[in-house]
Subunit: 678 residues, 2 copies
C-alpha cells in the first residue's frame, strides 16, 4: 500500500473496542475487570488542596480499607495466606493509580517494598512471623535503602550493622549525617519497623569485624503506641512536590540493638559465633542478586506510570472532542480542537506510544511472574533470563516514567486553563508521578545499566564487573564477535534499505523493525569500538574513565535504541494476537503511528547513517500526519479501550458538567455563527 | 579553528563574571541592582504546603508591602504619579519570580493587567480617576477577558454590554454559562472592579442596538466592605496545580448597570445619544489594535519564565557541583555528577538556551519600551514596527515559557529526590509556571500568529484578515516575491554550504546564522506553495480549511524556524557588545552551544533538505559534547552571572545545610574510598 487507508468509523464496533481492551489488559484481564467492578473505588480519592496531615490521615484510613479487603494478598505466598499471584500483585497495584497516587505509593511501600523485602530476602521463619501482619497492616513498615548521600549508588550506603557475639545482637549505626536513610516512605508517621539496608560487619569473637557488603535487616522504629524507640531518630522530609499523602522521612540510628535473627538472611547469614556464610561468594554478585530479587518494585512503578498516562490521555482526548475554538473561515460553527492537526499531532503519537508501552509492560509482568513463580516453587531459573528481566525492568521503567511525565504535561497544556484546575486531575497526576523518573532507580542510571548489559552480551560475569571491568571485558572478549556480526550487513544491503520506493514501504512493519534493529546494532557496534582504547594494559583509571565518560551519550543512545526495538516487537505481537479484524486493523495503525513516530523523532540519525533517503524521511513525516488524521475519528474508541470506568475518571471536563457546558458553548457558537468573525 | 578551545578556568575572573552579568541584565541593569539590594526580598516567599486561604492572605499582605514601597509606580505615566518607565515595569515584575510566583502573578493582575488595561484603553480622565488607587492598591481589580467557552478565541467572547440611552448606562449580561469570565485572578476574593471585555451593543434611541465588537468596560464587583454587588455572581475556581496564592474565580453578570463613562474608550466611544464612533473603522482592526496595546502582559510573562528558568538552573548546577555519586573504577573518590557527560548534556544546552532567550527577551523589552514611550509622548509609531513587536512578543513568550517548563523539569530530575522536596523550590517553580504556556495566549496559537505574520509579509492589511483571507492574500500577492527570493539561492550555493570542510565550520557563527536563515526561508517558501491551492475562486470554505489544517505542522515549523534565527541574532549581538575578552569568549562558547544544539535538535531537517552533509551532522554532535565538557569548569561562573542574590536562592541543596552535607558526604567517600566498591 502507498499510504494508510483510514478505517471507516462504522467498522470500529463496540465489540472491536472490547477486543482492543482485552489486548491492552493482557493476561490479568479478569483481575482488572474484578477491580473495575469495585463500586467504592472512586471514593479512595482525596480532594485536591487537602493539607498534608489530613491527607496522611485519609491515606492511612484508606490503606486500612484496602488491607481489610485483602488487596495485599495477591503477591504473597500461599504459605502465609496469600494468593501467590505475583503478576496479579503488580496489576492490582497499577490499578490504584486511577484512585489516588499517594494511596498507591503508600501501599507500594507497605506491601511491595517492606513486605517484598521480607518475602524476597527473608527465610521461611521470617515469612511466617512477619508477613501476615504486613498484609493486614498491623505491622506498618519501611524500606530503608536510600541514604542522603547515596541514592543511585546504593552499594555504597554507609549505615552499619555490626554483630556483637557477646549479646547475639546486631548494633545499627548511622555514622554521618549523609548516611541517614532518606525519603523513606512510612517513616515520618506510621512505620513501626524498617527493612534496613546496611553494610554488614561481623567476625568470630575476639577478631576484628570484617565487612561483608550490603544486607537487609529488620529494625523496629516505634512501639505499638507509635512512640519512637530509643536510639532511633526520625525527622519528617516535609512537604513535597506531590505524594503528600505519604509520610516520607529520614531515619538515623545510634547504637540500636536488634537480635541476630532479624537479619534477612536468604543470601548471607551470620552464625551465633559471628562467622559469616553465603551461598554467593562474590560480594558484588551477592549484592546484585539481592537487588534482582527486588525487581518487582521497579516493574510496579513502570505499570503505574503507564496507568497514569492512560488516565491523562482519557481526559485530554475527551476534552479535545467537546472543546471547540475558532470558526473555520466561511464555516458555520466552531471547530473541535481535536480536529486541528496540531492538536492531533500533540496527543495521538503519545497515545500510540502509551499503547506500545502498555504492551511492553504486559510482557514484562508476564516474564516477572513466570520467573518468580518458578523460583518460589523451587524451580531453576536460567541466569540469563533473570538478567534479561532486570535489564527490561530497568529500561521499560525508564521509558514509561518519562512517557508519563511528557504525556501528562502535554495533556495539561492541551486542556488549557481547565487543565490547570486541580479538579481536572492533571496537575496532581503530574506532580505525583514526577518522582517516578528518579525513584526506584534514576532513569539515566537505569539506561546505563541496560547499555552495560548489552555490551557485556549477558555473559556470565556480568554483575561482577565494575565500570572499568565491563569496558575491559567487552574489549577483550566481545569485540570479535561483534565485528563478525557487523560484517553480515554489507554496504549494499544498507543502501538497498535506504533507497527503496520511498512512500510504499514506510507502512511495512518488517521495514520498520529492520530499521530499528539496524540502528541498535550499529549503535552498539560503534560504541564498543569507541570503548576499545580503554582495554590497553597501560591505560590508567583516569583515562579509562575519560573514554567511558566521553561516550556516555552514545551509551544512552544504545540503550534507547535497544528498548525502542523491544517495545515495537511487543506491539507487533499484540497486533498479531487479535482475531477481530477491525480491532487488528485499528491496532495496526496505532502501531504504525508508534513506529513511524520513533523513526521521525530520530530521523537525523537514520539520514546521517544512510539508513533512509531524504525522500523517505519526508514520506515518514507525511505518513505520521496521515495516520493522525485517519485515527482522529477513532480517538474516543482508542481511549475507551483503556477501560477506565466512568466513575474513576473524575475530571469534570471529561465527564461532568464542564463537558456538558462545552457542548452548550458549541451549540451557542453555532447559533451565533458569523456574529463575531465577520 | 577545528574545534572549540576550552577556556582556561583562571581566565574567567570575577570581573569577567560581572561583564557577563551586565550583558544578561541589559538596559535596566541599574534597576535590577536596586531590586537585588532589597534586604527583605527573601521574606516575600510563602512556605511550601501553606493552605490556599492562608496563602491568599499572605500574598495580599505582601502585595500591600510592594504597593507601599512604590513597586507599582514604574510602568504608570508621570501624569498620575508614576515613573513612566515601561521597560522598568517589565523588569521589576520579572524579578518577583525569584520571590514568590503567586505574589508575582497577583501583582501582574493588579498592575499589569487591570491597571494596564485602564492605561492602554482608557482616556486621560479615567487615568486620573483610577490609576492612583490602582497603584496604591486601594482599588484591587481584575482583567476580565477569558470566558469558560472562549480562551484563545477572545474575539468571540459572549458577555454583552448594551447601552441604554434612557439612563445613560450600559447593561452588562452573561448570556450563557459558557460566557462566564473564567480563571480571573483577583476575582474570587479581593477584586472590587473588573476591566471587562464585552461585545458592545448600542444604537441611537429607538433603533435596534448594533454590535460593534469587543470593548473593555469598568464594572464594579464588590463594595468597600468586600460585599459582592447585586447582579454580580462570583464563584471560586478552587484549587489549582499551582499559584494557589492567587484567587482565581468566575464572574457572571445579570443586568448589571454601569455609567456610560465606564467604557474604556480610547479606541471606540459611545455618545449620550447612543451613537458609536471610533478612529478605526474596521471592527477586526480595532480589536487587534486594542490587543496590541495590551502586549506588555505577554512580554512580562515571557520575562518571568526566563527568570524562573534561571533560578532552576542556579539550583541544579550548584547541586551538580557538590553532589557526588559513584567512584571511578580505580579512582580514589566519588565523582561530582556534573562531571558526567550525561549530566552536562542535560543541563548545559538548556543553560545556553536560557542565555539566548534572556538576550532575546532584553531586546523585546527594549522594543516595547521604545515604541510605547514614543506613543505615550504623542509620537508616531510605524505600524510595521508595532506588528513586529506583537509578533516577537507572541513568539518569544511561547519559546521562553516552554523553555521554563522543560528546564525546571530537567533540573528537578537532575536533583533526584532532593529536587522533589518542596524546600528546594523546583516543584513549586514547575507547577506555578506551568500555566504560563497556555495563559496570555496559548503557545500553539501564538506560534500560528507568528507564522501568519510571516506569510503575509507584514503587509498593511494584516490584522484585517481571517484565516482564509490570509491564505488568499498570501497566494495572490506574496507568492511572486517569494519565488523571486528563492531563486537567489541556487542549488550550487546550497551544496557548497552542505559540502564544506565538516568540522572546521561548525563554530563559524556566520555558517550557523546562514543555516538557520536558510531553513526559515525554505520552510516559509514551501509553506506558501502548499497553501497556494486555497486561493482558487472555486475553492469552498471546507476545502480551504482542509488545506490550511493539513499544513498546520508546517506552519508551526515556519514560526519556530523564524524565532530560532531571531534568538540567535540577539545572542550574537550580545556577544559583540562585550569588550571584556574572557566574558566575550565565554559568551561566544555558550552561543555556539545554543546554535549547535538548535541545529542538532533539527538535524533531520537539515539532512533531509541537503543543508548539511552526514559528516558535518556528526561533527555538530561531537562539538556539542566538546562544548559541554569545555564549559563544565565555568558552569558556576555562568550561573553566578545570573546575579541571583544568595538569600533569594533559598533551596538548601544549593546554599544551605544540604549543600554542606553533600560536601561532607564527599569527604567521607574519599576517606572510605574503595571500601564499598572492591
Amino acid at each position: 500500500m502507498t499510504a494508510s487507508t483510514p478505517l471507516d468509523p462504522g467498522s470500529v464496533t463496540p465489540a472491536a473496542v472490547v477486543a482492543v481492551r482485552h489486548a491492552l489488559d493482557g493476561r490479568w484481564s479478569a483481575l482488572r475487570d474484578e477491580i473495575r467492578a469495585r463500586d467504592d473505588f472512586a471514593s479512595l480519592r482525596v480532594a485536591p488542596g487537602t493539607d498534608s496531615e489530613t491527607y496522611r490521615d485519609r491515606v492511612w484510613e484508606m490503606l486500612g480499607r484496602l488491607a481489610a479487603d485483602g488487596h495485599a494478598l495477591h503477591g504473597f505466598p500461599a504459605s502465609v495466606g496469600g494468593h501467590g499471584d505475583i503478576g496479579g500483585s503488580v496489576v492490582s497495584f497499577e490499578m490504584l493509580a486511577f484512585a489516588d497516587l499517594s494511596l498507591q505509593v503508600k501501599s507500594g511501600v507497605q506491601w511491595g517494598l517492606f513486605g517484598g523485602a521480607i518475602q524476597a530476602l527473608g527465610n521461611p521463619e521470617q515469612h511466617a512471623r512477619y508477613l501476615p501482619s504486613v498484609m493486614d497492616l498491623s505491622l506498618p513498615g519501611c524500606f530503608g535503602m536510600t541514604e542522603t548521600g547515596h541514592g543511585s549508588d546504593v552499594q555504597s550506603v554507609h549505615t552499619t550493622a555490626t554483630y556483637d557475639p557477646a549479646t547475639d545482637e546486631f548494633v545499627i549505626d548511622t555514622p554521618t549525617e549523609s548516611a541517614r536513610k532518606d525519603y523513606i516512605g512510612n517513616a515520618a508517621r506510621d512505620g513501626r519497623m524498617a527493612a534496613l539496608f546496611v553494610q554488614l560487619f561481623t567476625a568470630p569473637a575476639g577478631e576484628e569485624p570484617q565487612r561483608y557488603g550490603v544486607h537487609a535487616i529488620l529494625v523496629p522504629l516505634r512501639d505499638e503506641d507509635g512512640t519512637v524507640l530509643p536510639g532511633v531518630e526520625i525527622t519528617d522530609d516535609g512537604h513535597k512536590e506531590g505524594l503528600n499523602g505519604v509520610d516520607n522521612g529520614r531515619l538515623a540510628f545510634h547504637g540500636v540493638r536488634v537480635p541476630r535473627e532479624n537479619l534477612l538472611d536468604r543470601y548471607g547469614t551470620v552464625a551465633a559465633d559471628g562467622s559469616y556464610s553465603s551461598s554467593i561468594e562474590s560480594e558484588n554478585r551477592r549484592f546484585f542478586t539481592m537487588l534482582g530479587a527486588l525487581v518487582r518494585g521497579r516493574i510496579s512503578v513502570s505499570g503505574s506510570a503507564v496507568g497514569a498516562a492512560m488516565l491523562a490521555l482519557t481526559i485530554a482526548v475527551r476534552y479535545g472532542e467537546v472543546r471547540r475554538q475558532f470558526s473555520a473561515p466561511g464555516g458555520d460553527g466552531e471547530i473541535a480542537i481535536l480536529d486541528y492537526l496540531a492538536h492531533q499531532r500533540k496527543l495521538l503519537p503519545l497515545l500510540a506510544r502509551t499503547y506500545a508501552l502498555r504492551f511492553a509492560q504486559n510482557e514484562l509482568v508476564e516474564m516477572l511472574h513466570d520467573i518468580q513463580t518458578t523460583r518460589e516453587a523451587g524451580g531453576d531459573v536460567d541466569e540469563k533470563r533473570q538478567r534479561e528481566l532486570e535489564s527490561r525492568a530497568a529500561g521499560i521503567k525508564a521509558l514509561s516514567t518519562w512517557n508519563a511525565t511528557e504525556v501528562i504535561q502535554v495533556c495539561r497544556e492541551a486542556c488549557g486553563g481547565q487543565g490547570y484546575l486541580s479538579e481536572n486531575r492533571l496537575g496532581a497526576l503530574r506532580t505525583d508521578t514526577d518522582v517516578f523518573t528518579t525513584f526506584e532507580g534514576d532513569n539515566t542510571v537505569l539506561l546505563q545499566l541496560v547499555a552495560k548489559g548489552l555490551i557485556s552480551g549477558y555473559a556470565d560475569d556480568f554483575g561482577h564487573l565494575d565500570t572499568l571491568g565491563t569496558i575491559r571485558f567487552v574489549a577483550d572478549q566481545v569485540l570479535d564477535s561483534v565485528a563478525e556480526r557487523t560484517s553480515l550487513h554489507s554496504l549494499a544491503e544498507r543502501l538497498r534499505g535506504a533507497a527503496g520506493g520511498d512512500e510504499d514501504e514506510v507502512l511495512d512493519s518488517s521495514w520498520q523493525i529492520k530499521l530499528l534493529d539496524d540502528r541498535e546494532e550499529h549503535t552498539l557496534d560503534s560504541l564498543v569500538r569507541r570503548l576499545r582504547p580503554a582495554r590497553g594494559k597501560g591505560v590508567g583509571a583516569d583515562r579509562a574513565f575519560e573514554i567511558f565518560n566521553n561516550a556516555q551519550d552514545h551509551l544512552l543512545r544504545a540503550a534507547r535504541s535497544h528498548l525502542d526495538g523491544l517495545v515495537l516487537d511487543a506491539f507487533n505481537r499484540a497486533c498479531e494476537s487479535r482475531t477481530d479484524p477491525a480491532a487488528r486493523t485499528l491496532m495496526r495503525q496505532v502501531c504504525d503511528l508508534y513506529a513511524l513516530s520513533v523513526i521521525e523523532d530520530d530521523k537525523g540519525w537514520f539520514l546521517e547513517h544512510g539508513r533512509i533517503s531524504a525522500s523517505r524521511a519526508k514520506a515518514v513525516t507525511a505518513e505520521v500526519n496521515r495516520l493522525c488524521q485517519g485515527l482522529r475519528p477513532h480517538a474516543r474508541a482508542l481511549i475507551d479501550a483503556f477501560g477506565i470506568p466512568e466513575s474513576w475518571i473524575g475530571a469534570p471536563i471529561a465527564v461532568g458538567d464542564e463537558a456538558r457546558r462545552q457542548d452548550e458553548a458549541s451549540a451557542h457558537a453555532h447559533a451565533d455563527a458569523g456574529a463575531a468573525t465577520s
